[in-house]
């Protein structure tokens, strides 16, 4: 076990992270998403983006509280996975779902709040992906951590993105919330930054 977890496992982990993509692309060309492939693939890619965001939020608490400390080195990997699947989700929406129909996309982007939430999440994940290199970490110094805490906002955006588009089936929105909401809540209690922030707002609220 110890021998395996000496960074030589990384290629296997990358392969594992690419499995959903392989599955999606093969399903698409095998006709599993027929007759409305755009809609089906949009759902599946969105679910996988959420899974990776959930995973990245899970890594730190797991690494802190158990002997699996080595997994914290995968935060960047998992985060990049979330970025990749969120971009896939966006591209599927633009091309396979809306057919690059300009007026369709514009009216969605301009008028529909749940799209803002999704777009914001993709923008955050893209920023974090761009600033994920060691070079950027060094260059940004203390700010790096502050910026990368935006992942919590991206996670909240996913929850909003799902609840705002519920028709009558709440299954998906429920499941994603069940994972994301507690992972956000434990961070409110953990970080002194948020504690101070909450104390301030609470005092303001009580007055």
């Amino acid at each position: 076990m110890a021998v395996f977890w000496d960074r030589r496992e990384k290629p296997y982990v990358v392969f594992l992270f690419l499995m959903p993509l392989v599955w999606m692309v093969s399903s698409l060309f095998l006709g599993r998403y027929f007759p409305d492939p755009g809609k089906a693939l949009m759902n599946v890619s969105g679910i996988w983006a959420s899974v990776f965001v959930i995973a990245v939020l899970l890594l730190t608490p797991i690494a802190k509280s158990t002997q699996f400390r080595m997994i914290s080195r995968y935060r960047r990997f998992v985060g990049l996975g979330a970025f990749m699947y969120s971009i896939l989700h966006l591209v599927v929406y633009l091309v396979l779902f809306a057919g690059l129909n300009f007026s369709w996309i514009v009216s969605d982007l301009v008028e529909k709040p749940y799209i803002y939430a999704g777009v914001l999440a993709v923008m955050i994940l893209s920023t974090l992906a761009i600033t994920s290199t060691k070079k950027m970490m060094r260059r940004m110094g203390k700010n790096w951590k502050v910026v990368h805490r935006l992942v919590y906002l991206a996670a909240a955006c996913i929850v909003a993105h799902l609840w705002l588009q519920v028709k009558s089936d709440i299954t998906l929105a429920m499941w994603v919330s069940v994972f994301i909401v507690p992972l956000l809540v434990i961070r409110i209690n953990q970080t002194s930054y948020y504690k101070k922030y909450f104390k301030k707002t609470l005092k303001k609220g009580l007055r």
Binding site: G31, D36, G38, V95, N101, S103, S107, S168, D169
Partner: protein, 330 residues
């Protein structure tokens, strides 16, 4: 019997199936499908019968289905393939997923089937569906179906004008609206065991909408009876309205004086109105209704079509809503 009049609601040349493909399939189906099904006169439908196992009508109904009259509606449309129309459905009585209706509807017993007629009408009571079919001359009409979720198909329905059937029950002058109800039986309809919707599914029409010649009571599609997942054994087809208005597996018709409550407008009144007319100018709160994805789409690119006012049936139905603010009465 077939009268061809090019109407505004008909499709453009570009949407017509290539003639050689069309004729080949047609010929092929005349020889094979027609024989297997025991139905004739299904020429237009044949073009779309590619995969799947079309059903056969029961022996007592066979003659009705052998004498289907081809109505002029949609003769130039490119019909969606049978397997698409029967495997991609919204029928929450069998689950939320698009493939649930096909997978979970086999337990539905559609024969014998009775319809209870109540309310403001001279002839009320319980009527056998097969009798209603036998008294009618079945018509095939090719209609565009536009779902509120912004996808659409073109489907050849078999049935009769709704007005013809409703008039047989002698509605009185008090019958200002017609109310319809789907079967409620959680044993046969697993989706009803959950409480996603307030069962049974309810729909309604203003009487003049119901009497419009475009409104259809369908008992079949693609030249034969309706598969369970498509609303067997009897459903409405209202091509100028979003698909959810076309209530499936109807067991009750009630003539009423006041506007009836309908399932979707009860669940989300700001999203689904009583009228639910297809209207590219009134968006759903969460998505645009200006375009639609005509199914089936390509592997990498959908077939995006501009949505037309009243789904392109403006000529036939616009007069019903003259003077109404369609942004308010959506």
């Amino acid at each position: 019997m077939l009268i061809r009049n090019k109407k505004a609601s008909d499709c453009s040349e570009s949407q017509i199936t290539d003639e050689s493909v069309y004729l080949n399939r047609r010929q092929f189906m005349k020889v094979t499908g027609g024989v297997v099904l025991g139905v004739g006169n299904i020429g237009h439908v044949a073009a779309a019968l590619q995969e799947g196992n079309p059903l056969s009508p029961s022996p007592s109904l066979k003659s009705s289905f052998q004498n289907i009259v081809e109505a002029a509606y949609g003769r130039s449309e490119k019909v969606s393939p049978y397997d698409v129309a029967t495997s991609y459905n919204n029928f929450y009585e069998f689950g939320y997923g698009k493939s649930d209706p096909k997978e979970k509807s086999s337990q539905l017993q559609t024969r014998p089937w009775t319809i209870t007629v109540e309310g403001e009408a001279g002839k009320t009571g319980v009527f056998d569906l097969d009798d209603i079919i036998k008294e009618s001359l079945l018509e095939e009409r090719i209609y565009r179906l536009r779902c509120v979720e912004a996808w659409s198909m073109v489907i050849p329905w078999v049935g009769v004008s709704l007005a013809t059937v409703l008039k047989r029950f002698d509605p009185t002058s008090k019958a200002k609206y017609v109310y319809f109800e789907t079967l409620y039986d959680p044993k046969q309809m697993p989706g009803q065991r959950g409480n996603g919707l307030d069962w049974p599914y309810r729909e309604g029409l203003r009487i003049d909408e119901a009497m419009n010649p475009l409104a259809m009571l369908a008992v079949g599609m693609y030249g034969s009876i309706l598969p369970n997942q498509n609303g067997a054994p009897v459903r409405l087809i209202l091509p100028w309205k979003y698909g959810f208005k076309s209530i499936k597996s109807i067991v009750k018709i009630r003539f009423v004086e006041t506007m009836p409550e309908t399932t979707w407008s009860l669940l989300a009144p700001s999203e689904y109105g009583f009228y639910a007319n297809v209207n590219p100018n009134v968006d759903h709160p969460r998505w645009s209704q200006k375009q639609e994805r005509r199914l089936p789409g390509g592997v990498l690119f959908p077939n995006v079509v501009e949505t037309k006012m009243f789904n392109g049936y403006e000529e036939d139905v616009a007069s019903l809503y003259a003077g109404m603010d369609l942004k308010r009465f959506y």
